[in-house]
Amino acid sequence: MTVATQAAGGGHVDRGGGGGSSGLADVVELILDKGLVIDVFVRVSLVGIEILTIDARVVVASVDTFLRFAEATNRLDLYGKGKGGKDLTELTQGMMEGGAKGKTAGVLDAAVDKVGELLGGDEEDEREPVRKRPRQRARERERER
C-alpha cells in the first residue's frame, strides 16, 4: 500500500490515487462498493479478514467516538484557557517563528488575534472568526475582482 503523498508543488491538498497509488481503504471503497455488477459474474470464495478490517469505516458515531471527542475537547481546555500552559510571550514567539517559514504578512496580526483570544478578549464581535468558510472566501475574492 502506498500512502497518499503531498503534492510536489508544496500544495495544501494531499494527492493520491490513480494506477495503484491509493491507500487500501480508498481502494476498497472504490472497487468493493462501486462499479458494474453483471449477472454472469460467478461466485468465488473470498478471503474474509482483509475485507473485514475495512468495515470499520461503516461505524457511525458511537459512544467510543463521543468519548474520543470529549477527551480531545478536555485536552484542549488544559492549555486553551490559560491553565498552566505557555505564557503569552512564549506563545507569541512560537507563532512568529512558526510563521516565518510561511507568508510573513499577517503573522503579526494573527499573533495579536491569538493573544486577544487567549485573554478572552472583550471585543467578541470584532474578533476574526476562527476559520473562514469556503463560500465566504469565494465571495471575498469576487469582491476583490
Partner: protein
C-alpha cells in the same frame, strides 16, 4: 472450467498500457473484443480472492487504463467462466455498455475527501457551545468512572456541533468546486469530523483547472480543513445503474 477475471470495459480498438500487472498467476492483462466493446481480462489465481494485493491490482489495472481512456470499472471480484466473456458478458449487454462508454467518454473521476483539523474545530465549538463548558466544569477533577456519562454527553454535544458545521461546510465546498466538474456525487461520511466525500466527474480537458481550483480551496482552508484528492480515476461513482 477455467475462469477469467474482468477488470473493466473499454471501447474496442483501445491499446492497453504495457506495464499492467493483473492479479492472476501470470500477471498478464489483455483485451477480448466484441462488436465495439472490449473487456480487460486476465487469469484468476487458484485460491480465494481478496488479499490486499488482489484489491490493489484490480484498482491499479483499472485506473492505469483510465488515465488514458474511458473505462467502465467492474466491482471486485469480477470472475466469469472463460467461455462466457463474449457470449454471456459482451454480446448480451453490448448496447448498454456502448451507451455507458459513450456517455462517459472523455471524462475521469476525482474523489475529494476532507477532514477537520480537530483542534481548530474543537476550539470553535468550545467557544460557541455553552453546554460544552458547563460539562467540562462538571467533569474536571472527577474520576473517569464517575464522569463517564458526562463525558459521553460532552462528546455527543461536540459530535452534533461538528455535524451542524459539516453540513454547512460540505455544501460550501460542493458549491465552490461543482462548476468545474460535469457532475458531482456527494456522500455523507460516517464520522462527524469528516467533512466531505465527493466524487466529481471531470472532462479530461478540464482536469488542470479542476485540480488548481481544488488546490486553491486547500490553500484557503488549510488552517481548519485537511483535503485529500484522489484521481484521475475511472468513473466508479458515475457508472450508469442497471436499467
Amino acid at each position: 472450467m477455467t475462469a477469467t477475471y474482468v477488470y473493466g470495459l473499454v471501447a474496442a480498438g483501445t491499446t492497453l498500457p504495457d506495464d499492467l500487472v493483473g492479479l492472476g498467476p501470470s500477471g498478464r492483462v489483455s483485451l477480448v473484443e466484441h462488436d465495439g466493446v472490449a473487456a480487460i481480462v486476465g487469469d484468476v489465481p487458484d485460491r480465494p480472492l481478496g488479499t490486499r494485493d488482489d484489491l490493489t491490482a484490480h484498482e491499479a489495472v483499472v485506473d492505469t487504463v483510465a488515465a488514458a481512456t474511458t473505462v467502465l470499472p467492474m466491482r471486485f471480484p469480477a470472475v466469469v467462466e472463460d467461455s462466457q466473456v463474449v457470449d454471456e458478458l459482451l454480446a448480451p449487454h453490448q448496447d448498454r455498455f456502448l451507451r455507458a462508454l459513450e456517455q462517459l467518454d472523455g471524462m475521469v473521476q476525482y474523489s475529494l475527501k476532507g477532514r477537520y483539523v480537530e483542534e481548530v474545530l474543537l476550539k470553535e465549538i468550545v467557544e460557541e457551545e455553552p453546554a460544552v463548558a458547563e460539562l467540562q466544569e462538571r467533569i474536571r477533577g472527577v474520576s473517569e468512572d464517575a464522569s463517564y456519562y458526562d463525558r459521553v454527553k460532552l462528546g455527543e454535544i461536540v459530535a452534533k456541533a461538528m455535524e451542524e458545521r459539516r453540513d454547512v461546510d460540505a455544501n460550501d465546498i460542493l458549491d465552490r468546486i461543482s462548476p468545474f466538474a460535469e457532475q458531482a456525487s456527494p456522500t455523507t461520511p460516517p464520522q462527524p469530523d469528516e467533512v466531505v466525500d465527493i466524487a466529481f466527474l471531470v472532462r479530461r480537458d478540464g482536469v488542470e483547472q479542476f485540480e488548481s481550483e481544488v488546490e486553491e480551496l486547500g490553500a484557503d482552508t488549510h488552517e481548519w480543513l485537511r483535503l485529500r484528492l484522489l484521481g484521475p480515476l475511472a468513473p466508479y461513482d458515475f457508472v450508469p445503474a442497471e436499467e
